[in-house]
């Protein structure tokens, strides 16, 4: 059996890359590193034509900036028909953890659209804050929200 056979070294993704996955990867990498000044490089991509890149910018904003993050682009991605968009969004929410909980709660309380998917994200976070939010949703007077949350809590 061969030892790990090597490909040429990984190219670093560039913010200016032509492919959305390259730009989104570059943004995610900067956000994960948490480097000072990274947001200044990322912010111009807020209006990128690719929803995947806009989702990555939302992820980076939540990681790098103070205050309530605007996670609407990530929430939009969860409703996408593209497998990669949904996969990116759910992994991004997972990586954000408790930071994402208030935005998720605000959305599921206000809207039915996307509620089931976001509640699933919430239940898979498995943090105390996420569990408390799910328990609160289960006590909601909105019966649809309460029933969905109860079902997830009972799993």
């Amino acid at each position: 059996m061969m030892g790990n056979s090597r490909e040429p070294d990984d190219e670093r993704p560039r913010l200016s890359g032509a492919e959305p996955h390259e730009r989104a990867s570059a943004i995610a990498a900067l956000a994960q590193q948490g480097a000072r000044g990274a947001w200044q490089s990322i912010e111009p991509y807020t209006d990128d034509p690719s929803p995947l890149v806009r989702g990555a910018v939302a992820f980076a904003g939540a990681r790098l900036r103070k205050g309530s993050p605007d996670l609407a682009p990530l929430i939009d991605l969860l409703g996408s028909r593209r497998e990669d968009d949904v996969a990116f969004a759910q992994e991004a929410f997972h990586a954000l953890g408790d930071v994402a909980v208030p935005a998720i709660v605000a959305h599921v309380v206000a809207q039915r659209a996307g509620r089931a998917t976001l509640l699933r994200v919430l239940s898979e976070l498995e943090t105390k804050a996420a569990h408390a939010a799910l328990a609160a949703a289960a006590r909601s007077t909105d019966t649809d929200l309460a029933q969905r949350a109860k079902a997830l809590l009972s799993e």
């Binding site: 059996m1 061969m2 030892g3 790990n4 056979s5 090597r6 490909e7 040429p8 990984d10 190219e11 993704p13 890359g17 492919e19 959305p20 996955h21 390259e22 989104a24 990867s25 995610a28 990498a29 994960q32 995947l52 990555a56 992820f59 497998e83 990669d84 949904v86 996969a87 990116f88 759910q90 992994e91 991004a92 997972h94 990586a95 898979e124 498995e126």
Partner: protein
């Protein structure tokens, strides 16, 4: 493979029970009590013991088999044993076989406990032909495709799906598993769900008896397969497509004959997930071939077009013998 210490004692106790000359009622009761702690290696012993065993002991073995594998292959046999018990007025056999059959048919299990009439009802109420209650013959090889997180409802990895059919036609994989009881896992993005999926995969593979097991697995599905090696599962081929590479999910390399890691040129999903892209970043000299595609995107590694254009069938040496 040597069983782990924690699983060794139940297995030894099981072997002793199968050889025991004790009352069949006692043997059956002890097998049922032992069932939840038995390892997958008990399946082969069950196959050997079933033909010559006392009817009550057979019921216990079939019930233990279901506990271990969640496969209902013995349902018809249990129905037949229940009917045999009813004809012979053997209430113990009738009750035990009825309960075991009800459990496998996912019917309420308590129908038998009240009175004899209901025991008969439980045994005879099921109608219609069932699959033959026999386990499949041992195969030479089997190839399975495993989906990743949140992808259980997707189609690409199952019969009729584009990647699955590409493997069957272009890849000439003759042993691709396409029955309805295919392996699938919850797809939840949780460590414990992946660990549970790995245990389920090990049980599924043990139950499907194959000398060689080949797997093509996407994303965290690859980590399910890797974790399954810690349950003793061995793979002849393990093709990992866009896995998030994590140290806590590394396979037992000695249980993988040929391993491949196929990664997209850029993959934002793996970039944001916990983990890296390359096993060579975790350790050197691992027995794996790593390939970077020219295509971008997390799903590109299971797209037939990418497999054709980038010669991935050649990379993994399809068709496999």
């Amino acid at each position: 493979m040597a069983p782990s210490t924690s699983k060794k004692l139940p297995l030894e106790a099981f072997v002793r029970l199968l050889r025991s000359k004790k009352d069949p009622n006692e043997i059956a009761a002890e097998i049922m009590a032992l069932a939840p702690s038995l390892p997958e290696s008990a399946i082969a012993l069950m196959d050997e013991a079933l033909p010559g065993a006392h009817p009550l002991v057979r019921v216990a073995i079939m019930d233990a088999y279901y506990t271990l594998t969640k496969c209902d292959w013995h349902l018809d046999d249990l129905d037949a044993l229940a009917e045999h018990g009813a004809q012979k007025k053997d209430d113990d056999l009738l009750a035990a076989a009825s309960v075991a059959a009800a459990r496998q048919a996912r019917e309420p299990e308590d129908t038998w406990v009240t009175r004899g009439v209901q025991i008969v009802a439980a045994a005879t109420k099921r109608r219609g032909p069932r699959r033959r209650g026999v386990a499949p013959e041992r195969r030479d090889s089997i190839t399975i495709v495993i989906h990743g997180t949140w992808a259980r409802d997707g189609s690409w990895w199952r019969r009729g799906g584009d990647f699955f059919e590409y493997l069957r036609t272009d890849g000439a994989i003759a042993d691709l598993y396409d029955s309805d009881d295919r392996f699938e896992w919850s797809g939840e993005n949780r460590d414990r769900s992946r660990e549970r999926g790995a245990a389920e995969l090990s049980r599924w593979i043990a139950a499907h008896r194959s000398a060689r097991v080949r797997v093509l697995a996407h994303s965290h599905g690859a980590n399910i397969a890797s974790l399954a090696t810690r349950h003793g599962t061995e793979f002849d081929q393990l093709v990992m497509m866009s896995p998030p590479v994590r140290e806590d999910y590394l396979p037992v390399w000695s249980r993988v004959r040929h391993a491949y890691n196929i990664q997209a040129k850029f993959d934002a999903v793996v970039a944001v997930a916990r983990g890296g892209r390359w096993f060579r970043d975790v350790a050197q000299n691992l027995p794996i071939r790593e390939k970077r595609l020219t295509a971008c995107g997390h799903s590109s590694s299971h797209e037939p077009k990418v497999w054709r254009e980038e010669g991935l069938a050649r990379l993994v040496k399809l068709p496999w013998e």
